[in-house]
Symmetry: C2
Subunit: 147 residues, 2 copies
DNA sequence: TGATTATATTCGATTAATCGAATATAATAC
DNA sequence: GTATTATATTCGATTAATCGAATATAATCA
Protein backbone atom coordinates (compact mmCIF):
# COMPACT_ATOMS: atom_id res chain seq x y z
CA UNK A 1 0.00 0.00 0.00
CA UNK A 2 1.17 3.48 -0.66
CA UNK A 3 1.61 5.23 2.62
CA UNK A 4 1.10 8.56 0.97
CA UNK A 5 -2.11 10.24 1.85
CA UNK A 6 -3.69 12.53 -0.68
CA UNK A 7 -2.63 15.44 1.51
CA UNK A 8 0.85 16.44 2.60
CA UNK A 9 2.26 13.71 0.46
CA UNK A 10 5.79 13.31 1.70
CA UNK A 11 6.22 15.03 5.04
CA UNK A 12 4.79 12.11 6.94
CA UNK A 13 7.40 9.94 5.29
CA UNK A 14 10.27 12.27 6.06
CA UNK A 15 9.09 12.74 9.60
CA UNK A 16 8.77 8.99 10.06
CA UNK A 17 12.33 8.57 8.80
CA UNK A 18 13.53 10.99 11.44
CA UNK A 19 11.77 9.13 14.22
CA UNK A 20 13.19 5.87 12.90
CA UNK A 21 16.67 7.29 13.37
CA UNK A 22 15.78 8.41 16.88
CA UNK A 23 13.94 5.24 17.75
CA UNK A 24 16.80 3.36 19.39
CA UNK A 25 18.02 3.84 22.97
CA UNK A 26 21.64 3.49 21.93
CA UNK A 27 21.28 6.21 19.32
CA UNK A 28 19.58 8.51 21.80
CA UNK A 29 22.44 7.87 24.19
CA UNK A 30 24.94 8.71 21.47
CA UNK A 31 23.15 11.95 20.67
CA UNK A 32 23.15 12.74 24.36
CA UNK A 33 26.93 12.42 24.48
CA UNK A 34 27.30 14.58 21.39
CA UNK A 35 24.96 17.27 22.66
CA UNK A 36 27.63 19.75 23.70
CA UNK A 37 30.40 18.96 21.29
CA UNK A 38 32.10 16.47 19.05
CA UNK A 39 33.53 13.25 20.40
CA UNK A 40 35.42 10.30 19.03
CA UNK A 41 34.18 6.75 18.92
CA UNK A 42 36.36 5.62 21.80
CA UNK A 43 34.80 8.35 23.92
CA UNK A 44 31.36 7.02 23.08
CA UNK A 45 32.55 3.54 23.96
CA UNK A 46 33.87 4.70 27.32
CA UNK A 47 30.83 6.83 28.05
CA UNK A 48 28.19 4.31 27.12
CA UNK A 49 29.81 0.92 27.64
CA UNK A 50 28.76 -0.49 24.29
CA UNK A 51 30.96 -2.52 21.93
CA UNK A 52 32.88 -0.55 19.33
CA UNK A 53 31.25 -2.20 16.33
CA UNK A 54 27.83 -1.74 17.86
CA UNK A 55 28.42 1.97 18.31
CA UNK A 56 29.82 2.24 14.82
CA UNK A 57 26.71 0.64 13.38
CA UNK A 58 24.47 3.14 15.09
CA UNK A 59 26.74 6.01 14.07
CA UNK A 60 26.42 4.86 10.47
CA UNK A 61 22.66 4.93 10.75
CA UNK A 62 22.66 8.41 12.28
CA UNK A 63 25.01 9.57 9.55
CA UNK A 64 22.76 8.12 6.85
CA UNK A 65 19.88 10.01 8.44
CA UNK A 66 21.88 13.22 8.08
CA UNK A 67 21.99 13.93 11.79
CA UNK A 68 25.75 13.61 12.35
CA UNK A 69 29.02 14.03 10.48
CA UNK A 70 32.49 12.78 11.19
CA UNK A 71 35.94 14.30 10.98
CA UNK A 72 39.08 12.25 11.10
CA UNK A 73 42.02 13.51 13.11
CA UNK A 74 44.93 11.10 13.24
CA UNK A 75 43.78 7.88 14.80
CA UNK A 76 40.50 9.23 15.95
CA UNK A 77 37.26 9.89 14.18
CA UNK A 78 35.28 12.68 15.75
CA UNK A 79 31.53 12.83 15.33
CA UNK A 80 29.39 15.89 15.68
CA UNK A 81 25.70 16.69 15.29
CA UNK A 82 24.98 18.56 12.08
CA UNK A 83 21.45 19.60 12.98
CA UNK A 84 21.37 20.90 16.54
CA UNK A 85 17.63 21.38 16.20
CA UNK A 86 17.31 17.65 16.69
CA UNK A 87 17.66 18.43 20.40
CA UNK A 88 14.49 20.47 20.19
CA UNK A 89 12.70 17.32 19.15
CA UNK A 90 14.42 15.32 21.84
CA UNK A 91 13.71 17.87 24.56
CA UNK A 92 10.05 18.08 23.55
CA UNK A 93 9.90 14.30 23.74
CA UNK A 94 11.57 14.27 27.16
CA UNK A 95 9.08 16.82 28.46
CA UNK A 96 6.25 14.76 27.02
CA UNK A 97 7.35 11.62 28.83
CA UNK A 98 7.82 13.58 32.01
CA UNK A 99 11.57 13.85 32.22
CA UNK A 100 12.51 16.91 34.24
CA UNK A 101 16.27 16.55 34.46
CA UNK A 102 18.27 19.64 33.62
CA UNK A 103 19.40 19.43 30.06
CA UNK A 104 20.70 22.96 29.80
CA UNK A 105 23.75 22.37 31.94
CA UNK A 106 26.90 21.09 30.36
CA UNK A 107 26.99 17.36 29.84
CA UNK A 108 28.94 15.09 32.14
CA UNK A 109 30.31 13.56 28.95
CA UNK A 110 32.35 16.66 28.26
CA UNK A 111 34.79 15.72 31.00
CA UNK A 112 37.62 13.28 30.30
CA UNK A 113 36.64 9.68 30.79
CA UNK A 114 38.98 7.26 32.55
CA UNK A 115 38.47 4.49 30.02
CA UNK A 116 38.85 6.65 26.95
CA UNK A 117 42.14 6.62 25.08
CA UNK A 118 41.63 9.65 22.86
CA UNK A 119 43.95 12.65 23.19
CA UNK A 120 41.05 14.77 24.32
CA UNK A 121 40.71 12.59 27.40
CA UNK A 122 44.47 12.20 27.87
CA UNK A 123 46.08 15.59 27.33
CA UNK A 124 49.21 14.86 29.36
CA UNK A 125 50.29 11.75 27.49
CA UNK A 126 50.96 13.74 24.36
CA UNK A 127 53.89 11.88 22.91
CA UNK A 128 56.77 13.51 21.08
CA UNK A 129 55.18 16.05 18.83
CA UNK A 130 51.51 16.49 19.24
CA UNK A 131 49.91 15.91 15.86
CA UNK A 132 46.45 15.69 17.33
CA UNK A 133 46.58 18.29 19.98
CA UNK A 134 43.42 18.69 21.94
CA UNK A 135 42.75 21.60 24.19
CA UNK A 136 43.39 20.94 27.86
CA UNK A 137 40.35 19.42 29.44
CA UNK A 138 38.27 21.60 31.66
CA UNK A 139 38.65 19.42 34.70
CA UNK A 140 35.68 20.46 36.68
CA UNK A 141 36.18 19.78 40.38
CA UNK A 142 33.43 17.27 40.85
CA UNK A 143 33.99 15.02 37.90
CA UNK A 144 31.36 12.35 38.29
CA UNK A 145 32.18 8.72 37.86
CA UNK A 146 30.42 7.33 34.85
CA UNK A 147 30.37 3.73 36.00
CA UNK B 1 22.45 -6.82 25.13
CA UNK B 2 21.05 -4.53 27.74
CA UNK B 3 20.33 -1.22 26.13
CA UNK B 4 20.58 0.52 29.44
CA UNK B 5 23.54 2.77 29.80
CA UNK B 6 24.99 3.32 33.24
CA UNK B 7 23.48 6.80 33.11
CA UNK B 8 19.86 7.85 32.67
CA UNK B 9 18.81 4.24 32.78
CA UNK B 10 15.33 4.29 31.38
CA UNK B 11 14.59 7.56 29.66
CA UNK B 12 16.24 6.49 26.46
CA UNK B 13 13.93 3.50 26.46
CA UNK B 14 10.80 5.53 27.10
CA UNK B 15 11.79 8.09 24.53
CA UNK B 16 12.47 5.37 21.98
CA UNK B 17 9.04 3.93 22.67
CA UNK B 18 7.50 7.30 21.89
CA UNK B 19 9.35 7.58 18.59
CA UNK B 20 8.30 4.04 17.73
CA UNK B 21 4.68 5.10 18.05
CA UNK B 22 5.35 8.15 15.87
CA UNK B 23 7.48 6.27 13.38
CA UNK B 24 4.77 5.41 10.87
CA UNK B 25 3.40 7.77 8.19
CA UNK B 26 -0.13 6.52 8.71
CA UNK B 27 0.04 7.22 12.42
CA UNK B 28 1.41 10.70 11.79
CA UNK B 29 -1.46 11.28 9.38
CA UNK B 30 -3.93 10.13 12.01
CA UNK B 31 -2.45 12.46 14.60
CA UNK B 32 -2.66 15.24 12.05
CA UNK B 33 -6.38 14.68 11.64
CA UNK B 34 -6.86 14.58 15.41
CA UNK B 35 -4.84 17.75 16.02
CA UNK B 36 -7.79 20.09 16.49
CA UNK B 37 -10.41 17.76 17.91
CA UNK B 38 -11.75 14.27 18.24
CA UNK B 39 -12.91 12.31 15.22
CA UNK B 40 -14.44 8.93 14.57
CA UNK B 41 -12.84 6.12 12.64
CA UNK B 42 -14.99 6.67 9.57
CA UNK B 43 -13.77 10.26 9.46
CA UNK B 44 -10.20 9.04 9.48
CA UNK B 45 -11.08 6.63 6.71
CA UNK B 46 -12.60 9.38 4.62
CA UNK B 47 -9.82 11.82 5.34
CA UNK B 48 -6.91 9.52 4.72
CA UNK B 49 -8.19 6.92 2.29
CA UNK B 50 -6.91 3.94 4.24
CA UNK B 51 -8.78 0.71 4.90
CA UNK B 52 -10.81 0.59 8.10
CA UNK B 53 -8.93 -2.33 9.63
CA UNK B 54 -5.63 -0.72 8.76
CA UNK B 55 -6.60 2.49 10.55
CA UNK B 56 -7.91 0.52 13.50
CA UNK B 57 -4.60 -1.28 13.83
CA UNK B 58 -2.69 1.97 13.97
CA UNK B 59 -5.21 3.46 16.39
CA UNK B 60 -4.66 0.47 18.65
CA UNK B 61 -0.93 1.08 18.60
CA UNK B 62 -1.34 4.78 19.38
CA UNK B 63 -3.70 3.88 22.21
CA UNK B 64 -1.21 1.38 23.61
CA UNK B 65 1.38 4.13 23.51
CA UNK B 66 -0.92 6.29 25.61
CA UNK B 67 -1.22 9.01 23.00
CA UNK B 68 -4.93 8.70 22.25
CA UNK B 69 -8.17 7.63 23.90
CA UNK B 70 -11.52 6.67 22.48
CA UNK B 71 -15.10 7.43 23.41
CA UNK B 72 -18.02 5.52 22.01
CA UNK B 73 -21.15 7.40 21.00
CA UNK B 74 -23.76 5.21 19.43
CA UNK B 75 -22.38 3.66 16.31
CA UNK B 76 -19.30 5.74 16.27
CA UNK B 77 -16.08 5.58 18.20
CA UNK B 78 -14.44 8.95 18.61
CA UNK B 79 -10.72 9.22 19.15
CA UNK B 80 -8.88 12.11 20.72
CA UNK B 81 -5.31 12.90 21.63
CA UNK B 82 -4.66 12.62 25.35
CA UNK B 83 -1.28 14.33 25.34
CA UNK B 84 -1.47 17.46 23.22
CA UNK B 85 2.23 18.03 23.89
CA UNK B 86 2.89 15.33 21.34
CA UNK B 87 2.36 18.09 18.77
CA UNK B 88 5.31 19.95 20.25
CA UNK B 89 7.44 16.97 19.32
CA UNK B 90 5.84 16.76 15.90
CA UNK B 91 6.20 20.47 15.20
CA UNK B 92 9.84 20.42 16.26
CA UNK B 93 10.38 17.51 13.91
CA UNK B 94 8.62 19.30 11.07
CA UNK B 95 10.78 22.36 11.58
CA UNK B 96 13.85 20.16 11.63
CA UNK B 97 13.03 18.57 8.31
CA UNK B 98 12.25 21.96 6.83
CA UNK B 99 8.49 21.92 6.72
CA UNK B 100 7.18 25.47 6.82
CA UNK B 101 3.47 24.94 6.32
CA UNK B 102 1.20 26.72 8.75
CA UNK B 103 0.19 24.37 11.46
CA UNK B 104 -1.47 26.90 13.69
CA UNK B 105 -4.46 27.37 11.46
CA UNK B 106 -7.40 25.09 11.87
CA UNK B 107 -7.09 21.77 10.13
CA UNK B 108 -8.86 21.10 6.86
CA UNK B 109 -9.99 17.87 8.50
CA UNK B 110 -12.30 19.80 10.77
CA UNK B 111 -14.69 20.35 7.88
CA UNK B 112 -17.26 17.68 7.05
CA UNK B 113 -15.93 15.15 4.61
CA UNK B 114 -18.08 13.97 1.70
CA UNK B 115 -17.24 10.30 2.18
CA UNK B 116 -17.75 10.27 5.93
CA UNK B 117 -20.96 8.84 7.35
CA UNK B 118 -20.66 10.05 10.94
CA UNK B 119 -23.25 12.46 12.37
CA UNK B 120 -20.59 15.10 12.76
CA UNK B 121 -20.18 15.17 9.00
CA UNK B 122 -23.92 14.82 8.37
CA UNK B 123 -25.69 17.11 10.83
CA UNK B 124 -29.04 17.36 9.06
CA UNK B 125 -29.59 13.65 8.43
CA UNK B 126 -30.01 13.06 12.13
CA UNK B 127 -32.70 10.43 12.17
CA UNK B 128 -34.27 7.33 10.77
CA UNK B 129 -34.82 8.15 7.10
CA UNK B 130 -31.81 7.14 5.13
CA UNK B 131 -29.13 6.74 7.78
CA UNK B 132 -26.14 7.00 5.52
CA UNK B 133 -26.86 9.68 3.04
CA UNK B 134 -23.99 12.07 2.82
CA UNK B 135 -25.34 15.54 2.58
CA UNK B 136 -23.36 17.96 0.46
CA UNK B 137 -20.42 19.05 2.55
CA UNK B 138 -20.28 22.55 3.92
CA UNK B 139 -17.90 23.75 1.33
CA UNK B 140 -15.90 26.39 3.07
CA UNK B 141 -14.62 28.98 0.64
CA UNK B 142 -11.10 27.77 0.30
CA UNK B 143 -11.63 24.18 1.26
CA UNK B 144 -8.94 22.23 -0.55
CA UNK B 145 -9.82 19.11 -2.39
CA UNK B 146 -8.88 16.07 -0.41
CA UNK B 147 -8.36 13.87 -3.40
C1' DT C 1 58.43 -2.51 5.89
C1' DG C 2 55.31 -4.72 9.57
C1' DA C 3 52.78 -4.02 13.92
C1' DT C 4 49.42 -1.43 16.33
C1' DT C 5 45.48 1.45 17.09
C1' DA C 6 41.00 3.27 16.07
C1' DT C 7 37.22 2.55 13.49
C1' DA C 8 34.19 0.68 9.65
C1' DT C 9 31.87 -2.92 7.26
C1' DT C 10 29.82 -7.39 6.16
C1' DC C 11 27.35 -11.52 7.38
C1' DG C 12 23.85 -14.10 9.44
C1' DA C 13 20.57 -15.33 12.89
C1' DT C 14 16.92 -13.59 15.65
C1' DT C 15 13.31 -10.57 16.64
C1' DA C 16 9.98 -6.97 15.52
C1' DA C 17 6.96 -4.24 12.38
C1' DT C 18 3.96 -4.06 8.56
C1' DC C 19 -0.23 -4.96 6.22
C1' DG C 20 -3.77 -7.66 3.76
C1' DA C 21 -7.43 -10.89 4.59
C1' DA C 22 -10.70 -12.81 7.30
C1' DT C 23 -13.38 -12.72 11.22
C1' DA C 24 -15.34 -10.93 15.67
C1' DT C 25 -17.84 -7.64 18.48
C1' DA C 26 -20.97 -4.15 19.93
C1' DA C 27 -24.51 -0.79 19.13
C1' DT C 28 -28.51 0.23 16.68
C1' DA C 29 -32.59 -0.34 13.54
C1' DC C 30 -36.43 -3.03 12.31
C1' DG D 1 -35.35 -11.82 17.69
C1' DT D 2 -32.47 -10.60 12.77
C1' DA D 3 -30.05 -7.33 9.88
C1' DT D 4 -27.06 -3.59 9.54
C1' DT D 5 -23.44 -0.42 10.73
C1' DA D 6 -19.14 0.91 12.75
C1' DT D 7 -15.26 -0.74 14.54
C1' DA D 8 -11.91 -4.18 16.67
C1' DT D 9 -9.17 -8.23 16.60
C1' DT D 10 -6.62 -12.26 14.96
C1' DC D 11 -3.76 -14.64 11.67
C1' DG D 12 -0.08 -15.18 8.60
C1' DA D 13 3.18 -13.84 5.20
C1' DT D 14 6.55 -10.48 4.09
C1' DT D 15 9.80 -7.10 5.14
C1' DA D 16 12.77 -4.48 8.23
C1' DA D 17 15.59 -3.78 12.49
C1' DT D 18 18.66 -5.56 15.80
C1' DC D 19 23.01 -7.21 17.32
C1' DG D 20 26.90 -10.45 17.87
C1' DA D 21 30.82 -12.19 15.44
C1' DA D 22 34.18 -11.84 12.25
C1' DT D 23 36.73 -9.23 9.19
C1' DA D 24 38.33 -5.00 6.66
C1' DT D 25 40.42 -0.49 6.39
C1' DA D 26 43.14 3.45 7.32
C1' DA D 27 46.33 6.08 10.06
C1' DT D 28 50.31 5.83 12.80
C1' DC D 29 54.40 4.00 15.00
C1' DA D 30 58.75 1.39 15.18
Amino acid sequence: MSTKTPNKPCNYENQARLYKALMHPARLAILDVLRYGEHCVCHLEAALGYRQAYISQHLMLLRDAGLIEDRRDGWNNYYRVTKPDVYKVIDAALRLIGDNSDRDSISRFENPLPNCTCPKCNPDTQTNSDPHVCEPPITSPGKPSIV
